[in-house]
Structure formats: C-alpha cells, structure tokens
C-alpha cells in the first residue's frame, strides 16, 4: 500500500525533514475520491501529473500539516487530558499518522486510506533511524534549523528501505 | 641471636622509575634511618640490571635480591613497564621471598590506581606525594602476615 509523504517537525515547530513518494498516485486517488467513481484507470502517459487545483509547494504543505496536527493534538489534550494524543485521521484521499516524542519531536506520515495504523512504525523510525543516525551523529548539530543535519545518507537510506518494507506488507 | 625469634617485618618499601629515578620510599622501622635505606635501595639497581638478561620467564618477581645481614634482606619486583618495586624485610625467613608475592601484587595494584588518577603527573621527575598512595602502602605493610609463621 503506498505511502505518500513523511514529515518531521522539531520542538520549535519547524519542519526539519520532508520526503514524498508516489506523487502521481496520491493526487489521483484524491481526485478519484472526489470524483466518486469517475473512472481513472491508468496514469496518464505524459509527464504532466494531474495537478490538483491550487496545489501548494512542499513547504506550504508542511506548514499546513503542522497546523492541523498541532491543533488536533491540542484539542485532544483539552478533551481527554494531557496524556492523550491522537493516532491518525483519515480523509477520502489519504490517512495521516501521527507520533510525538516527549521531547516534542513530531513524526507525520501520509498514506493510502487503507493503510493500517503506523504509529509503531513512526516510533521505529524515531528509535532506529532518527536517534541512531541523526542524534548520535556527533558532527550533526543538536538543533536542525532548516533541516540541516537530518537528511544524512544513512538516515535517507534507512528510511527508504523501511518505507519499502512497510509498503510491501 | 634473639632477633631471629622476632617475626619478619617490612622495614622499607621503595619504587624506582624506568630511568632509575627514585619515585617513592617509605620506611616502617626505627632501627635504621631513612638515608641508610636510600643507599640500600640504590645498590639493588645493579642486581636488577645484572639479572634481567637471564630472566626469561616473563615473571615480574625477582625474589631475594640480596641479604645485608641476618636481620635485613631486599626483595624485588619489576613490571614490564620498567617500574621496580623493592621491599626490605627485617628478620627475613628463608622462604626466598615467596611470602612477599601478595605484597608486591598489592603494591602494583596501588601503583596502578595511582597512575590512573588523571591529576597524577607521570613524568618520573618528582617523588610520589599522593596521600592516598602513602596510606595504601602503609595498609599493605601493616596487613602483611608471612605465611610461614602460620599467622
């Protein structure tokens, strides 16, 4: 099942890492969902992807997503106490998975709507990839303004493999 | 002589550096003065040098270096790093220094603890001033009970 994108936000609410996959499928499935059974059978042969109207840049996407998870998280906490946090939500087009560490690092992943819960997977990315290759890299800065030091080779490589293994499940 | 009935006692502990500089000397007897031991320890250096080529078993123990008289004998121990430990014993037994092995081991352990202190200057220029080391050596000497006397 396809995974569309992945974001990490640091404790200063800044997006320090983004990665997109399956651009085409994502917008197709969104389009398909909105068009309700409109038959789109195969991806267009041309290079131009079906651009959703008013599509935003990756940075704006990230900002928007952060705004949503941040408000949603605060709302959940207000409703059911400070220890609660939301796990995922779903729209017609995608499913958003959320994991937050006690150090206020936030991991967000957008996937196909039928994907099962990925909270554990996000936790694994934190433990096995982020902590191992980013935090423990003595040459990388402690803070990552503008994402500096996060997208290191080992991290990218590990993430790519991990994503493939989830998609294959 | 009456003295032979007295139990053996450690009279002096000395440590000599790789370059034969005196690092540490402490006496535990009142019968002779410290200067005497300085001379005594100094003379043992020749024996270390003399015996070293024939020492092939890799052991640190040099055993009895020499006996001054019936009442005093020197025993030696050389580490692979060239540090020499010398212990002078009053009223020595005839065991040839076998009794002293644990003492030398304890001294070496104390010495290792000493050099592991990050503030210790291991330059062989000055004498060892550490109070803790001083005390540890004192404890080792006090605690020594030669096995041959069955104590």
């Amino acid at each position: 099942m396809p995974i569309y994108s992945f974001y990490i936000f640091d404790r200063h609410c800044e997006c320090i890492y983004t990665k997109q996959w399956h651009e085409a499928e994502r917008y197709q499935s969104a389009a398909a969902a909105t068009a309700r059974r409109a038959s789109i059978t195969s991806a267009p042969d041309g290079v131009s992807l079906p651009q959703a109207p008013g599509r935003l840049s990756v940075q704006d996407d990230a900002k928007l997503i952060f705004g949503v998870v941040f408000s949603l998280r605060n709302m959940v906490r207000k409703l059911s106490g400070p220890d609660d946090s939301f796990i995922s939500f779903r729209t017609n087009g995608y499913k958003l998975h959320y994991y937050e560490t006690p150090t206020n690092l936030r991991f967000v992943m957008l996937t196909d709507t039928k994907m099962s819960n990925l909270r554990a997977a996000l936790h694994q990315i934190y433990v096995n990839l982020y902590v191992e290759f980013v935090v423990k890299n003595p040459l990388s800065p402690v803070e990552h303004p503008g994402g500096v030091g996060v997208g290191v080779e080992m991290f990218e490589y590990g993430l790519e493999r991990f994503i493939k293994s989830i998609e294959a499940e | 002589m009456a003295s032979s009935l007295l139990p053996p006692r450690i009279a002096c502990v000395a440590i000599i550096g790789k370059k034969n500089s005196p690092l540490f000397l402490s006496t535990f007897t009142k019968s002779r003065d410290t200067l005497f031991f300085h001379f005594l320890i100094h003379t043992t250096l020749d024996i270390f040098t003399l015996r070293l080529p024939s020492k092939t078993n890799g052991d640190s123990d040099f055993g009895l270096l020499y006996a001054v008289d019936e009442e005093l004998a020197c025993y030696g121990w050389l580490t692979n790093t060239g540090i020499k430990f010398v212990v002078a014993v009053e009223n020595p037994t005839s065991s040839g220094g076998e009794d002293l092995k644990p003492v030398f081991r304890a001294l070496q352990t104390a010495y290792i603890r000493l050099v592991c202190n990050p503030f210790f200057e291991n330059d062989e220029l000055g004498a060892i001033k550490s109070k803790r080391f001083q005390k540890e050596v004192g404890d080792i000497v006090e605690g020594w009970r030669p096995g041959s006397r069955g104590e």
Partner: protein, 191 residues
C-alpha cells in the same frame, strides 16, 4: 509509576538494550578531559566547573533522545516521577549506578541525588594545591547532562553538587531544582 517499576525498567534496558564499554576507558577518558581543562584554564576551577557543565548540557540534549528511544517511556507523572526515572533508569542504563533520591523540599520542587559510587571518579585524587579541594566539582558534567536532558522534556532545572567524597565529604550529593515547566512552543503566526 511505582519505584519498583522504575528499577525493573532500568534493569531490563541495561541488560538487553545497552552496549557496554570498558569502565576504565570511560573513567580515564573523562579524567583526561578534566585534567586537560584544568591545565588549559590554568587552574581556574570555577571556569572548569562551568565548562564541564556546558559539555554535559550538550550531551544531555542528545542523550535524552537515546534514553527515550531505549526505554520507550512516556511523559513523567510529576517531578517526583521524574526524579525516580533519572535515578533508577537514567543513571542505571548509562552508568550502571543507582543514586538515592532524597531530601525532597516541602514544595516537591527540589531533591538530592546521593551517589554511593561514581564511576567517573574512580582512581581520582584531587590536586593538592589547596584550592581544588574547595573549588573543583570533579563530576560536574553530570549536572550539565541532567540540565540538558530535562530541558528537552520541557523542564528547566538547576543542578549542582553539594558535596563530593573527593573533597573529603562523607557523601557525594547533587541537588536538582525545578525552576519551571517550559511551555510548548507555538508555531509562528500564519503569514
């Protein structure tokens, strides 16, 4: 969480999830850092303390992530819970010691950690220059580590040593005080 649970988590993580390293290597490495600092700063022990604290702070900022990754802990339930976690899990998994948490202040905002053993200070004998005994906090890096680590989980604390066996005190005691809970940062206003 009960205290025994903390101890159990600490034990478990220590056994199964921590890479071990030779203790003397750590002790000697730390020792040469402190010694070199003392030399470079020409015996200005107040400054040495400050530098050690700063180094510790930078370690703490990272170490907390490793701590969370290894223990899979959630947020602590109050400062007392935090203290127990530090002593029974944090110190256990990183140094294999368990200091005692004691001397709570009436407002539950400060406590002491009493160290019966301190792997950093093995072999150490402070320089006998008449000042080190009064001015140098040999293990001050630990204060910095706590400060850095707790700051990352929204707790601003002040930590300092109150006594040290190296100085001839009866025990080694660190005082930790909660200054404030740091509010979550808000995203910058929408442009």
């Amino acid at each position: 969480m009960s205290t025994t649970k903390h101890a159990r988590i600490g034990e478990e993580v220590w056994k199964s999830r921590v890479d071990k390293v030779n203790a003397e290597l750590v002790t000697l490495t730390y020792g040469s850092i402190v010694q070199q600092l003392c030399k470079d700063l020409e015996g200005d022990y107040t400054e040495v303390n400050k530098q050690l604290d700063k180094m510790g702070y930078n370690i703490g900022l990272r170490l907390i992530e490793d701590f969370l990754a290894k223990t899979n802990m959630g947020r602590c339930n109050g400062f007392r819970d935090t203290a127990e976690s530090i002593a029974k899990i944090g110190f256990k998994i990183f140094l294999n010691i368990t200091p005692t948490v004691t001397n709570w202040s009436a407002d539950n905002k400060s406590f002491s950690l009493v160290f019966e053993e301190n792997p950093l200070a093995d072999f150490v004998e402070l320089p006998d220059d008449g000042r080190a005994q009064n001015e140098l906090w040999y293990s001050n890096i630990l204060c910095g580590v706590l400060r850095g680590a707790l700051e990352m989980v929204q707790m601003q604390v002040e930590a300092h040593f109150a006594s040290d066996v190296l100085r001839g005190n009866d025990s080694t005691e660190m005082r930790v005080e909660l200054i404030r809970i740091i509010d979550d940062e808000l995203p910058p206003g929408d442009e």
